[in-house]
Amino acid sequence: MKIWVNSKEVETAAVSLASLVEELSLPTQGIAVAVENRMVPRTQWEACALSEGMRVVVVKAACGG
């Protein structure tokens, strides 16, 4: 299925957020993930089911004042 990750279309076989993070080789620490504009704590990644067209945002640290 196709989903959106950081505004890019991604073809994925992942059914849960946890498997998407693994599929994209994202680090598990130092990031935060939101699905449909809601932050999903990492303790809930496994239980968070993905479906066609969902919008996922992944952020990490950046330089800033």
């Binding site: 990750v5 130092g30 935060a32 939101a34 952020v59 990490k60 950046a62 330089c63 800033g64 004042g65």
Partner: protein
């Protein structure tokens, strides 16, 4: 020097450092070290899926350093709450530099949204350090809303213009029951020293250090300026005379004459 206490945590250093605008992460890490800071701000950005770049946190996270994630880029209280939740999840801290500046030209904080966001974030258990206008009334409202500090600006972000708001900063400092951190506009160690002499609890510096010819040496200069300013404040500054007429500090008895 008295320790700075924010939300029950003690800080020996009264210099907070921003991590923007450094030429490299290595240089930034050295400047952090030289500054002696125990509070370092970080922003957030979207992960690039293909790009495996250097991890910023590896250069910033050190024992004894409190990470202070900011909400830069948000335009209102609702976005700020979302960004705060993302920051808490990503960095494992509930400390937050709240900054809401919808106008990219002057980056001036939106007072209404900042107050609203502070109220909500405090309820959600965040330690909120709001970047705000040097507005004494607003600062009281932020304090009443549960802000851990107030962080009024000295001048617009990145301008290095110093304490353009000094008269208002004085009122804010006089009235505050929470630490007052002068944020934005501090462009030289003398500006930081002036803020500290006035009784500010701390200074947040970024551009002035990051874009200096030698950021590491400048970080060390700011460390000394903040310490000197604070020591002078604690020692009690002599009052400024109202007139220009000199007051001798040496005896003027004429020992050369009869």
């Amino acid at each position: 020097m008295e320790k700075l206490v924010i939300a029950g945590r003690e800080f020996s250093s009264r210099l907070f450092l921003g991590t923007g605008k450094f030429n490299s992460n290595e240089l930034m890490a050295k400047a952090i070290e030289a500054s002696g800071t125990e509070m370092v701000t970080v922003a957030m950005k979207r992960v690039e899926l293909e790009d495996k770049e250097d991890d910023l946190l590896a250069h910033v996270a050190r024992p004894g350093i409190q990470l202070l994630p900011n909400t830069s880029g948000v335009r209102n209280a609702e976005e700020a709450v979302f960004a705060a939740q993302m920051a808490r999840e990503a960095f494992g801290t509930n400390w937050l530099k709240l900054e809401i500046h919808p106008d990219p030209r002057y980056l001036l904080p939106d007072s209404t949204e900042t107050l609203k966001a502070t109220e909500e974030l405090v309820k959600l258990g965040f330690v909120v350090l709001p970047y705000c206008q040097a507005d004494p009334t607003l600062c009281k409202h932020l304090e009443e809303a549960g802000a851990a500090t107030v962080m009024p600006l000295g001048a617009p972000i990145g301008t290095n213009k110093g304490l353009q708001t000094r008269d208002f900063l004085r009122i804010i400092i006089e009235q505050a029951n929470v630490p007052v951190v002068v944020d934005a506009g501090i462009g030289a160690p003398s500006h930081a020293a002036e803020a500290m002499e006035m009784g500010a609890s701390a200074c947040l510096v970024n551009t002035a250090i990051a874009v200096a010819g030698d950021p590491v040496a400048m970080a060390a200069a700011f460390k000394q300026a903040v310490e000197a300013g604070r020591m002078a404040y604690e020692a009690g500054l002599g009052l400024q005379a109202a007139s220009m007429v000199a007051e001798a500090s040496s005896p003027l008895t004429a020992f050369l004459n009869e």
